[in-house]
Amino acid sequence: MKILVAVKRAVDYNIKVRPKTDGSGVDIAHARMAMNPFDEIAVEEAVRLKEGGIATEVVAVSAGPATCQETLRTALALGADRGLLIETDVELQPLAVAKLLKAICEREQPQLVLCGKQAIDDDAHQTGQMLAALLDWPQATCASGITITADGNRTTVVREIDGGLETVDIALPAVITADLRLNQPRYATLPNIMKARKKPLDTLTPLALGVDVAPRLKTLKVVEPPPRPPGIRVADVAELVDRLKNQAKVIR
């Protein structure tokens, strides 16, 4: 069984970003970039499925500028077998990425596509769902547990939903998106980072895949949230209740 894992290069989650002065977008010049943490969880899950003898090959795919090669090398160091980069300098939006991944799926014929439930930069939470729709495959989003049947035809996925867990059973091939508690990714070891540099990494273009990636959404403005007003100290319980009732209007 072949697994395709989609990985996105995003700003490192430790970086506190800020809007550009002109409000045209988020300023990430000089900021450290890393693999989207949810995608890292997806890679880890794919590698565990391979180590468990269920998957035979793990292919990592990324789309974006040439620097995405680093992100793919990270996936390879974590245990993916080979990498595919769809190289473009165009700003990629979820629908474009889903179309690119669909084209890759048609070439690679994976039985399972794994990706993060969302990317921490745009928080769109769309690519996995769009891909499943385009392929007309079953999907399970926000997975916190994945079990695949011995014959490799079906999978049981535990999903994180509001206030609890939901378990669904779907047929393969399918698209599954990873949530935070699916697993704890391993650290890439030095020997594995070294080996990853020798693993195959092929580069394609949207043109070669016949996909139009032109952006359809236009960002009008990015602004910082208003600063939080400082807290106040109230004199007694009566004042607290009064303020909660009449000022904050959170109790009646």
Partner: protein, 543 residues
């Protein structure tokens, strides 16, 4: 894993050494493998410097740096030296300044950006660079020679047990190991002790630089403008000074360097810097702008008198790990690059002669014959004079430079290590610092936030105490716990119960920006800085 050369630290010194080794290997057709490890998550992530770069060392290392697109493209166009008191500033005319203070031909750079560029050059030449791995231990052979380093374990839990994603560290063996950790390297210190490298040297003296990046309105910005200042807010007895450099893209770097030989335990390096920015001479530039990054790092300021012996069996100290910064010129990156290159020359010669694990004596010899040595010699009396106070020091150093041209028949010594210079609170007056205004000056926590610092939470504390009773018994009792004030990241806090009793020291190791001030200034050297898990620490952008 075995290499010909392992380099610990991906700053200007380590990267220059790596580049030079591969250049020579290419020229001579030798097959030499070079591995460089860096504790930051990426090259440049822990780099912090002013910085005004003297490109001479870069010229010697990579003569075609301009054509290769080095991020060294903001020539100094205006250079001012200010003497500040609380509200006024006097511009010191150029003719009064020693030549070493002049910056014609130099560039305003981001050292982190320069390091990232050097890293790419090194990788193109075939250097294997591994960010995210800290050198945690020196490896020796049975004869006591250095044979490499071990990287730290990953995934160790607070109690020392192994977590689910535990990965043991790796031994990186090498015929020669170059240590390029920067000022107060934790391995460099161990080497100095073990091989008695400081036997004939003065104690190293240090300073702490705290820096912010600001984005300012375009009408106030002039790329290449360089301002240095001495005087306020530091008192005349405390070594240090401030800087304001205009980079590109409407960014300015503003910072204050405070000598860690300061005497008043009430001094707060952080608050000195915050109030420095409120001086009218700086406020007028910063007003209307926004702060975008914060960080801090110590630097080695002792100069040539404080240089330890540079080599020992199996390796060498390079860059600020040894202390090649030229305090008199207020810059060190060129010395780091030069020292890395010279060590690499010696290392290459030894490797091609089939040698290993011996002393690279050609490196100190080459240093003594280099322009870097002359330069450090000329400026050698700067820091010791300045330790005698700003006014006397300035006059004497001017004499030293203008009359004797740096060849004065005397060499002043550094007598005391910084940690011994602190006076007890009984002999000092508390300093009243203004509250931050949230516009120009800020508190510690919002500042640390802008260093993008992160440490895996559930790991053992990397700031270790030799004796857990000393923080209260000595530091609090005699010095009012100075670690609360010299740490620029709010790592050390004295907490008390509701009644204000039962003080205890809390170490917020997750805030640590790896500046090493605590390792240097703790009055009894009770605090020992060790590397946390690889990849942890600040994530500086273009500092």
């Amino acid at each position: 894993m075995e290499f010909d050369v392992v380099i610990v630290g991906g700053g200007p010194a380590g990267l220059a050494a790596a580049i030079r080794l591969k250049q020579l290997a290419g020229e001579k057709g030798a097959d030499i493998n070079v591995c460089l490890i860096e504790k930051a998550a990426e090259i440049g992530g822990h780099i912090l410097s002013g910085a005004v770069l003297d490109p001479s060392a870069l010229n010697r290392l990579l003569p075609d740096w301009q054509a290769q697109g080095a991020p060294v493209n903001t020539p100094v166009v205006e250079d001012r030296f200010l003497l500040l008191d609380e509200s006024r500033s006097i511009t010191v005319p150029d003719w009064l300044l020693p030549d070493c203070f002049l910056n014609r031909g130099n560039h305003v750079v981001s050292l982190a950006e320069l390091c990232r560029w050097l890293g790419r050059q090194a990788e193109t030449l075939g250097v294997e660079i591994y960010p995210g791995f800290a050198g945690s231990e020196i490896l020796y052979d049975e004869d006591g020679a250095v044979v490499g380093v071990a990287t730290g374990d990953m995934g160790v839990l607070k109690d020392g047990s192994h977590g689910p994603n535990y990965q043991p560290g790796m031994a990186l063996l090498a015929r020669y190991t170059l240590f390029a950790e920067g000022s107060r390297g934790h391995l460099g210190r161990q080497l100095e002790d073990r091989f008695r490298l400081r036997e004939h040297a003065d104690p190293q003296t240090y300073a702490l630089g705290i820096k912010e990046l600001w984005e300012i309105p375009p009408e106030k910005h002039q790329a290449g403008r360089v301002i240095h200042s001495v005087g306020w807010p530091l008192d005349a007895q405390t070594y240090g000074g401030g800087f304001l450099y205009h980079l590109r893209d409407n960014q300015v770097a503003v910072g204050l360097v405070t000598g860690l030989g300061y005497r008043n335990p009430y001094l707060s390096t952080f608050e000195e810097f915050q109030r420095y920015k409120t001086h009218p001479a700086l406020r007028k530039t910063l007003e209307g702008g926004r702060r975008i990054a914060y960080g801090a790092r110590t630097l080695s300021a002792g100069g040539v008198q404080s240089l330890p012996r540079l080599v020992f069996p199996g390796g060498a100290l390079i860059g600020d790990d040894a202390g090649f910064l030229n305090a008199a010129r207020l810059k060190g990156a060129h010395g780091a690059i030069d020292s890395g290159r010279l060590a690499a020359d010696a290392c290459f010669e030894a490797l091609t002669a089939g040698r290993s694990h011996d002393k690279l004596l050609a490196y100190p010899r080459a240093f003594c014959a280099s322009p870097l040595f002359d330069e450090l010699q000329r400026g050698r009396n700067f820091k010791p004079w300045m330790n005698k106070g700003l006014y006397l020091g300035s006059v004497m150093f001017a004499l030293d430079q203008h009359v004797f041209r740096g060849k004065a028949p005397w060499t002043l010594r550094h007598r005391a290590a910084d940690h011994t210079r602190l006076l007890k609170t009984a002999d000092c007056r508390p300093i009243a610092y203004p509250k931050p205004d949230g516009q120009i000056s800020f508190d510690r926590m919002s500042s640390v936030d802008l260093s993008h610092t992160r440490h895996e939470e559930n790991q053992p504390c990397h700031l270790t105490l030799k004796d857990a009773s000393v923080p209260l018994r000595v530091n609090l009792a005699h010095y009012d716990a100075p670690e609360q004030r010299y740490c620029p990241a709010g790592v050390y806090e004295i907490l008390r119960d509701a009644a204000g009793e039962n003080p205890r020291l809390q170490i917020n190791a997750q805030n640590c920006v790896h500046c090493k001030a605590c390792d240097i200034k703790d009055p009894t050297q009770n605090i020992v800085w060790t590397p946390p898990q690889g990849g942890d620490g600040p994530n500086y952008p273009n500092m």
